[in-house]
């Protein structure tokens, strides 16, 4: 279709301060006109976006696509399908693959595979250390040249503080940054569930919040002294929020993300002892959930990232200690963020910011924007449509989420990438 007219949508683009009803005419993939009331004409496909929101597409800087090496869990094609169904057109995949993304050839492999699938932009994060073993630095500059957008050993923390300091300095000096999965393994050893009332009552091996909080503090202090950026992955505790608040006030270049599950689910998900609730960091308690919501509202937490972590059914059937942590998230971020809008934590503009522009800017790509002349890269969603999370509606290869069987409100109807409709829901 050469001409597409999006009628009556409420367009919100924080980059350009647009927040009003507009019609958008797309010609050969390019946004040709944005105006009040553009009349449809023959040969023009019309998308009725009445009651819907049209926004720049979303960016998720933290997903696990499991390719190479664990494509029974997910691959770049199924991961891309889940991404565009969630309104995302840029995803950054984590380097904890087999082998780890610690070499330029592997970085190229992911990028080329993503381009071959072509549904969205798949950008890799490179490993900080070789084999993610926490000892020797990777060739970060060469990985960056090959296309790595930042560096992390995600899934594993950088336990050695000297390594973390040097990695922070080196990544910063080449115009990139490190992101840390904050978990002091000596504190979290053998833990399964957040050390709260639920773990105490059920006798589940506890994961203390100190494991996250002390590591966040260390990384913030490294950011202060080196003057280089540090990004904190998946913040989940109220104390970590306080530490980040303090570091930002000290002028440190610290940024932080939060996942949809830490914004919405608590350790009560453990009540049936099912490993679907196992994730790292663990699902916390109400006070923590409240803290990360307000931090996202105020900007102490900069944006949302899903930590989409697919695992096969049989892996989630394993005993608690053997079951891998993680849950999928690409299709749930929008409805969970919209619920926070409904509950007045922030407005719709901030919702779009935390899903779209803020994370894009963090990884140094031009945020998608709804302006005349640009390739259409936008998401149309119905903020009030309800849908059920089930085996069919989940497009990931893996279905591991505590949300199975639950209803969510807010549904992506169209995702445009590179001028084309890549998802229609």
């Amino acid at each position: 279709m050469d001409l597409i007219l999006i009628k009556n949508g409420h367009v919100i683009d924080p980059e350009n301060n647009i927040n009003d009803k507009f019609d958008i005419l797309i010609e050969k993939g390019n946004i040709r006109r944005i105006d009040k009331n553009i009349e449809p004409f023959s040969g023009c496909e019309v998308i009725d976006a009445d009651e819907m929101i049209v926004s720049p597409s979303f960016t998720d800087i933290h997903v696990h696509l499991r390719d190479p090496g664990q494509t029974y869990k997910e691959d770049i094609r199924t991961g891309s399908m889940a991404a565009v169904a969630g309104g995302y057109t840029t995803v950054v995949c984590m380097p904890n693959t087999l082998p780890a993304l610690d070499d330029a050839s592997l970085i190229r492999y992911v990028i080329e595979k993503g381009e071959e699938v072509g549904l969205c932009r798949v950008l890799p994060a490179g490993a900080i250390t070789k084999g993610r073993r926490g000892k020797e630095l990777t060739e970060m500059a060469l990985l960056k040249d090959a296309g790595a957008v930042y560096f992390t050993d995600d899934g594993a923390p950088v336990m050695d503080s000297h390594v973390m300091r040097k990695a922070t300095e080196y990544a910063g000096s080449i115009g990139s940054f490190v992101a840390d999965h904050c978990e002091d393994l000596s504190l979290s050893e053998n833990g399964v569930a957040h050390e709260g009332e639920i773990a105490a009552a059920l006798g589940l091996p506890p994961l203390p919040p100190e494991a996250e909080d002390t590591m966040v503090a260390r990384d913030c202090i490294i950011a202060i002294h080196t003057g280089m950026p540090v990004h904190i992955c998946h913040v989940s505790t109220k104390v970590a929020v306080e530490v980040i608040t303090w570091a930002k006030a000290m002028g440190a270049e610290v940024t932080a993300e939060v996942t949809p599950h830490h914004l919405s689910l608590s350790d009560a998900e453990w009540l049936d002892f099912d490993c679907k609730a196992k994730v790292s960091p663990p699902l916390r308690e109400e006070e923590d959930i409240e803290a990360v919501r307000w931090a996202l509202s105020s900007g102490i937490i900069d944006f949302v990232a899903t930590d989409h972590a697919p695992h096969a059914h049989h892996e989630k059937m394993l005993e608690h200690h053997a079951c891998p942590p993680g849950m999928i998230g690409l299709q749930f971020a929008l409805p969970i963020v919209l619920e926070l809008v409904k509950k007045d934590y922030f407005d719709m503009k901030r919702a779009i910011e935390v899903l779209s522009t803020a994370p894009a800017r963090k990884i140094g790509i031009q945020p998608p924007s709804i302006v005349e002349g640009r390739k259409a890269e936008l998401t149309i969603f119905n903020p009030t449509e309800s849908w059920e999370v089930n085996e069919e509606s989940i497009l990931s290869k893996s279905k591991n989420t505590p949300l199975l069987g639950r209803k969510l409100i807010g549904k992506v109807k169209y995702t445009f990438y590179d001028g084309k409709i890549v998802y229609k829901g």
């Binding site: 050390e195 009332e197 006798g203 589940l204 002892f273 005993e319 200690h321």
Partner: protein
């Protein structure tokens, strides 16, 4: 309908009384010379124990045999997953062998709950990780009732490693359900951080404070390997600060019962000569365990 015995939480007071009544009945009849019963004739009891246990397994096995069931022990380590077999697969296999009862012990909290969801057999939790040990709680209750008649208003103290204890979690639930007042005591490093979620009445780190004016004191077994994980310093210090000695026995109420789920680390939880001392009902607990477990089978079958 109660298909399984997984947690004390699922039992009403009536359920508990029913089980205790069955246990009393078996005990009386046994002591009157009736040593074989036919309640479970033609039934099979499979006992997959993924954690080592002598007394609980023997007790459940003998209870089944006294009721004329066919019992089969299945020993395994919790590491069956290393062979790529999940707990679920193991249990489905056991069920396919036509088990009427599955008595399971496993190192994972919630293991019995998970298993019960997936099988038609009656599942009995013989200890799951640090979560529950309901048959121990029932036999403890039976033993206390024999001496005290009722738990209503009784003051009970549980001393030791509460953090890792499934016995404590089940005992607290049943004692509270039957109207007792529960105090727990131990070094702070062996107490769950959110101890209030255990629904106890008092918590103290002072053992002499804990045992004062109590009707029952229960000492928990100290797991020696906890020392390596820095949960306490030495057994010597633990026994001096938390163990039962003659001086502390003299501080007890005259009719206070001394209990221990066993096996006792002599000289750690209590001085050796006190283990079978005059106020100790430790061996009664073991005997009552047999009749309580017979009662549990009957309860699940009849319910």
């Amino acid at each position: 309908m109660v298909k399984d015995l997984i947690s004390i939480t699922q039992l009403t007071k009536d359920h508990i009384n029913q089980i205790i009544d069955y246990a009393k009945d078996y005990k009386n009849r046994y002591h009157n010379g009736e040593t074989k019963f036919s309640d479970l004739r033609g039934k099979s009891v499979l006992l997959p124990f993924f954690e080592s246990s002598t007394r609980t397994r023997t007790s459940f096995e003998l209870a089944g045999k006294l009721l004329s069931a066919d019992t089969i022990n299945i020993s395994g380590s919790s590491s069956s997953t290393t062979k790529g077999e999940t707990l679920f697969d193991t249990i489905k296999t056991i069920e396919a062998m036509q088990s009427d009862f599955i008595v399971i012990r496993h190192s994972m909290s919630g293991a019995a709950y998970q298993v019960a969801k997936h099988v038609k057999s009656h599942v009995i939790n013989a200890g799951d990780g640090q979560n529950e040990h309901p048959s121990q709680a029932l036999l403890d209750t039976f033993t206390i009732l024999e001496h005290k008649g009722s738990l209503e208003g009784l003051k009970i103290a549980i001393i030791g490693d509460i953090l890792h204890s499934r016995v404590a979690r089940s005992d607290i639930k049943i004692f509270k359900k039957l109207g007792a007042e529960v105090t727990i005591c131990g070094p702070l490093t062996l107490i769950p951080r959110h101890v209030e979620s255990l629904n106890i009445d008092y918590f103290t780190t002072d053992v002499e404070d804990a045992i004062k004016d109590k009707d029952v004191v229960i000492f928990l077994r100290m797991q020696l390997e906890r020392q390596k994980k820095v949960f306490f310093s030495t057994l010597n210090e633990y026994s001096i600060k938390y163990g039962l000695n003659q001086k502390r026995v003299d501080m007890l109420k005259d009719d206070c019962l001394i209990m221990h789920p066993g096996p006792v680390n002599r000289g750690v939880e209590m001085q050796s000569e006190l283990v079978y001392g005059s106020r100790s009902v430790i061996l009664e607990q073991v005997e009552n365990g047999l009749f309580t477990r017979m009662a549990i089978y009957k309860f699940l079958l009849n319910n």
